[in-house]
Symmetry: C2
Subunit: 605 residues, 2 copies
């Protein structure tokens, strides 16, 4: 059976030693009094919830799955899920980063992100029930009327009600402009909504007494396409004026999907049969609210694969130290045993270090993004808000696609460490791989992310935001360019930083002549951009580690505490030697352009 | 629901236009009378069996899985498996390439390989029941006594009995030297075998009345380690002198594994409780027979992923042409529809072409290897036999690891084409991915394959066999080096061919100082060698296609027939532009060596 230990030390490193988040947070009025000890203590408790309450339900939830009673349309979640959710409510976990005006704890988003990383490590399927609520909460908080907020946000903050995002229809996933669900205005100002939604995570379940569905549909007089889509609140049960539950609304689960993974998460087909909803925001402007949910969800999905990468790493590491098989090529290491532990083999270390480097690089990027989101919403300085929002927009598709592609590689590599035992359900390793696979698909496939990055976030503003990230690299190069010990980390990112602007210009120029060049280059481009970003954070992590090691060795001590920084430095070296060079191939294949893909009429005749 | 069409046209291309297998086969006495039409006709019928009989059982077999009655130790296979197996026997399919002396049809191995490719496309899990028989057959055919052969081979040839390979034990997979199963000699010359074996595919099932287990165990006086392992036949039921079944032997299935995939295949824990067996070959020389099975199995595993790559490609292609979503970046293509079919998007084509290029490259390599195996065993000229065996030894780890790694990439990419629908079991796509995953693990993990390639097949003979492959490339370069139309295919392999010998020498030199350098470079090395081999075959396929296109255009015709060759050429272009450049990164990361992997004491403390 697998195990999980919350990576609290590394979380503290990223927050307090790498990104100094408290300095930023103290500039935000609502966090002015917050201290690092409180943040750390909350995460320690959160880690206990993840490791002790929901992690033990991960394998059993996968095996049991959800079931639907076709008559009552009730969904039953796996054994233990409901009791765990009750503990989640009682612990106040739903409220962590929510607005105090609606009963929230007003803690920084970074705390919620790290809590979710741990829950995702422990049980991604379970975590989707509370997880979907945050996007719905954010959409309502931003675009809802005061009455809507008062009606729904308190209960979502307490966790008593969950939320859902009802977007996809059988014939439209990526292309929401094809949507058919209809909303007819009623005399009382509400809307009667009819249609079928699919792939609705947490669309129905038995964890809470009510579910707040956010539904996209077209008004009867809506213009065609994406400009005719509106957003509605459609509660499972209507809410009376006093806050008590009223009648059952006509939104039902008609079927559950049988999936490759996340089997404990109910993926519902939802039938709206004249369900009554209220409009969120302006008519035909549903995409605004949708994008609030979607951007939150995209960061959340990156965080899911970060969690899976971490837990897969931890378990592969344990196994690699315990399992004995063959001798080291360089001669026996554990002479007292009949064979060496497999961690002596270089390729086993490669698999482990790949997962570790992707997990820790991903954690740095996720945390940086949480701070950008915090600043975008709550920083007193308008320019900081604007700059943070732009940088976050650039990094969001990288978080979503790069971290989830890496998560697939890492979980599969960690499973491989187990040999045949990894393919067996009992080890828990293959579940991490199956669960990780959805993260490359939902909330916009990774190809869609790459088009968003290259087309919308880079080329459409002539690389302006990308250049701002380039400046961060430039600053680091300026700081450390003469430090010989940092050369192995600085040189590659300095070179890539320079190549990147030429590379981007080249693609932009080709795209000007043929827009398919964007589609042909985008996936490779995202891989390169991802390594540019990870390379930057790994260089900064190496910088912090080197300074600590020097400080401690100047002080004459070389205790255990050192090992954290030495390990960080060794992982940074591995990252630049074995993972970062993926950019060489990705730039080369991107440059071969669209022709070999599109001049294929005979293949696809 | 997925569909499958046997790729007969491409099989004929590979056999008759690319490799001219009939020319080689006609030099082998037993095939002297064979003609291409017969071969094609057998494969056409074989394709029908695959597509019509076992393909319809693929999804249902995965959902149902196998079950074990703990009292009777009987395993029940999924519904329909037994009836399909009966049809397999009745069609004479088990006998295709078996020795006529034991009732076989003496057809070339290449026919069996292509038949198995189609069965693997159709249903890998089902195909493992007959598939395991071939390795056991080959081990007995090579190392069995005449009496053993007479007792067992007729029934294995007819398919009435299947075989198994009982190697792995709970504490030893890769490292068979750690084996504990014991064989005590009896007065009658048989052995009493006691031990536990795990991960035994087709170890128990209800398809046949008897199972011929080939079991590795240690004689009571055996030397320690791998040099003390012997091979035994342990039938499920003893066989009387008249060929009828005798008593039940003490080899039982004690448990079935629950796995990520190939759920229709029974993966058995086998308990030997004083089971009676007879020795195959010499005492303590069990590894000789084991390697006969293992080499057959390794080629077979490559063929499994080839089959999955092909079927995943076919289904993703159908979906990409049907599913409409978004418009092409270069403007609407299907103006009459509300959106374009997703095949207009460059990255969807990249996924499809990746699978197609890996399937067709893999088919060329597999077929080339089947011919080497044929020549190794049956060619009248001893030098041809020896050379063929050496080349096959070099290529076997590439077949096993390169094709299965590619199969993972390809099936996952084809699943991604389906978006969310690919994650749903109904589409059948996620099963191809789950099934493909085991192929990277069993019969020696892909890391073990890479160590076999670099350590044993390349460095240990100073690259002598590798140089012979280099000569094939050299010949092609000499033939086509001045043909401008071939330059795009010839240049990359000419360059890589030259780099390869320097690259190999470099690693060899480093390995001389530190053996861990082999382990650190091996996986990357195999990726580079794989592309060298695939690049060679893709260049040759482009050569054939170009000649045909020129011939046909000189004849003034440009009918539909042309499209096959044009498609081949377009796929070759894609391969060299988008897949082959993986070598750039792999050579770079290999060169960063062992230090960053092994100087990681703080990470793995």
């Amino acid at each position: 059976m697998p195990s999980y230990t919350p990576p609290l030390r590394d979380m503290q490193f990223v927050m307090h030693e790498l990104l100094h988040v408290m300095d930023d947070l103290q500039q935000i009025p609502k966090h002015a009094e917050l201290d690092a000890d409180t943040v750390n203590a909350v995460l320690e408790e959160g880690g206990k919830f993840a490791a002790e309450v929901i992690f033990p339900l991960n394998i059993s939830g996968d095996a049991e799955g959800c079931s639907l009673d076709q008559t009552s349309h009730q969904v039953t979640t796996p054994k233990g899920f409901k009791a765990a959710y009750q503990q989640y409510i009682e612990g106040g976990w739903a409220a962590l980063a929510c607005d105090a005006n609606f009963g929230g704890q007003d803690l920084p988003l970074v705390v919620n992100q790290m809590f979710y990383e741990m829950m995702n490590s422990a049980n991604q399927a379970w975590t989707m029930y509370p997880g979907l609520t945050h996007g719905a909460y954010a959409a309502l908080h931003t675009h809802g009327t005061e009455a809507q907020k008062q009606t729904y946000l308190h209960k979502m903050t307490s966790g008593e009600w969950t939320g859902s995002m009802c977007l996809t229809e059988p014939h439209c996933g990526t292309d929401l402009g094809l949507m058919r669900s209809k909303a007819e205005p009623q005399l009382d100002g509400t809307y009667k909504i009819t249609g079928t939604k699919i792939f609705i995570s947490a669309g129905e379940h038995d964890l809470t007494e009510n579910i707040v569905h956010l539904v996209l549909a077209r008004l009867t007089d809506a213009p065609p396409g994406i400009k005719g889509v509106s957003l509605f609140i459609v509660p499972k049960f209507h809410v009376n004026a006093d806050g008590s539950l009223g009648e059952r609304n006509a939104i039902f689960c008609g079927g559950l999907e049988h999936k490759m993974g996340i089997n404990g998460s109910a993926t519902c087909q939802m039938m709206l049969d004249g369900a009554i909803g209220t409009l969120v925001g302006q008519p035909n402007k549903g995409m605004q609210g949708m994008f609030v949910m979607m951007n939150a969800a995209r960061l959340g999905v990156g965080n899911q694969s970060l969690g899976l990468t971490e837990v897969a790493y931890q378990n592969a590491l344990v196994y690699a130290k315990e399992r004995i098989q063959m001798r080291a090529l360089s001669g026996p290491k554990a002479k007292e045993l009949p064979a060496d532990p497999i961690i002596v083999h270089p390729d086993v270390r490669r698999a482990l270090l790949t997962a570790k480097a992707y997990a820790e690089g991903g954690r740095a990027l996720m945390t940086y993004c949480s701070m950008l989101l915090e600043k975008e919403h709550y920083h007193p300085d308008e320019k900081v808000r604007k700059d943070s929002g732009e940088m976050l927009a650039l990094l969001t598709p990288i978080v979503k696609a790069f971290i989830t592609d890496n998560g697939w590689t890492a979980t599969s590599g960690c499973m491989q460490v187990f040999g045949g035992h990894g393919y067996i359900k009992q080890s828990g390793m293959e579940q991490f791989v199956r669960d990780a696979r959805i993260n490359m698909i939902y909330e916009g496939t990774n190809t869609i992310q790459s088009l968003d990055l290259l087309g919308r976030k880079v080329l459409s503003n002539n690389g302006a935001t990308l250049k701002k990230f380039g400046k961060l690299i430039g600053q680091l190069v300026a700081e450390e360019g003469v430090n010989e010990k940092m050369a192995e980390f600085i040189t590659p990112i300095a070179i890539l930083g320079e190549q990147m602007s030429k590379f981007t210009t080249e693609i932009g120029f080709k795209a000007f002549q043929n827009p398919d060049e964007v589609g042909a280059a985008a996936v490779d481009y995202l891989r390169v951009a991802g390594h540019m970003v990870f390379g930057y954070f790994w260089a900064r992590m190496a910088q912090v580690a080197l300074r600590e090691i020097e400080k401690q060795s100047a002080a004459g001590g070389a205790g255990n505490q050192d090992m954290f920084y030495v390990a960080k430095l060794q992982t940074a070296r591995f990252y630049f030697a074995k993972l970062f060079p993926e950019t060489a191939t990705a730039m080369r294949t991107a440059r071969t352009g669209a022709r070999v893909l599109m001049d294929t009429d005979a293949v696809f005749a």
